[in-house]
């Protein structure tokens, strides 16, 4: 997998909430995670899953800056681009 799509992002986010309950339609990308009922533990889990699925290591400082889904999309896309 060399691209990180919105579809994949949604899939990972939903799986951290066991498939249900998140409002990931419309312009969710720029909503802060807490507004999406996505707590700090879920963000860490998201980072772990991204690391697993895309074989990346996300440093602490980078995780701290992931405040919206778009941040994650941009960050992972950039990292994948760098490894080419």
């Amino acid at each position: 997998m060399t691209t990180f799509t919105i579809v994949k992002l949604k899939e990972i986010m939903l799986s951290t909430a066991d498939g249900a309950g998140l409002e990931l339609e419309g312009d969710f990308l720029d909503k802060p995670f807490p507004d999406l009922d996505f707590d700090s533990l879920a963000v860490l889990e998201l980072a772990t899953r991204v690391q697993q699925d895309y074989d990346l290591t996300i440093p602490d400082e980078a995780v701290a800056e992931l405040t919206t889904p778009r941040d994650v999309l941009d960050y992972v896309t950039r990292r994948l681009g760098e490894s080419v």
């Binding site: 860490l44 889990e45 602490d60």
Partner: protein, 416 residues
Amino acid sequence: MITGLGVVAPGGIGAKAFWEMLTAGRTATRPITLFDAAPFRCRIAAEVDFDPAREGLSPKEIRRMDRAGQFAVVATREALADSGLGADLDRSRLGVSLGSAIGNSSRMEEEYVAISDGGRDWLVDHRFTVPYSYSYIALNSLATEVAWAARCEGPAVVVSAGCTSGLDAVGHAVQLIEDGTADVMVTGATDAPLTPITMACFDALKATTPRNDDPASGCRPFHRDRDGIVLGEGAAIFVVEELEHARRRGANIRAEVLGYANRANAYHMTGLRPDGLELAESIRAALDQARVGPSDIGYVNAHGSGTRQNDLHETAAVKRALGPAAYEVPMSSIKSMVGHSLGAIGAIEIAACVLVIQEGVIPPTANLTEQDPLCDLDYVPLVARKQRTDTVLTIGSGFGGFQTAMVLAAPGQVTP
């Protein structure tokens, strides 16, 4: 009444060695030797240099017991010897209340590695288990080991509340004595978290410090640059006795448990709100039960885990509960020296409090070279302080939102 105590802690096995380290302000945090920590984010911990045979365990006991069980039994034997409890004890009135957050997980993980062939097989091979491997998942087995060592015939149970287990187990024991269920309880806590799975858990949470280049100062509670906990391990066990029972046999009463309260923040499994409201409520309820006021507290033994959020949460809670007195009372974190041993640390901290009361010296918060301006209380930086202290408050906070407080005092301090 606490009439006996035993400690197995990083930097010192036995109450004497433990106290010597605390008052010297020495830290036991170092690069991990118990397993290969190279692949982990945090590679330091506070380890106990523990030779089970030297500590008196038999080969069968060593083979059978997880490290946490071994710590508990060694500390139990020290506590029983210290208490002077005789053979004429009515054992039906003797119980066990042992705290632990993760139980026998280190042997469980070892067994798992063998039977799964290094994580290869989901359908593990049951033929490669040791006969007592079930005890590695059944948490009560730690209580049974202590119950056998103490030969108790009253209630025996493991109390588990994450990082407050140590405080809650002793609180539980006191409640059983208060309601007449038991006259004597062997109580305390144990945990041996220094294993790959637990280290991986804390790595995933980014709760442990990544400061691997300076292990001796890895745990920095209340410091401006603190960045996480350092895991530890160990056990502390007490003999806790009903007052008349202790007096009748002429027991040496080391300290008295005056008050205990536990609450939950009902907020988040790992997160803390900065206002510390529920921990403050535990403190208030414990002081209330102890019938002491904030200005009666001579020392606060902090949870002081060294995470950015805890130290703020706890400072707020102490201010909320003690009011202006919060600024007058010394408050230190011994986790700076012995690390955070999860369920065990609450009991290890009670042991430190008992020694504070007996010895009149307050242990420092090690590594506190630059205090966080937002944490503005007297955290006893770096150097122990000679101060007669008759009434002590110890607090704890843990995963699951558990918030606990206990008040201890020199015997005879408060007339009922």
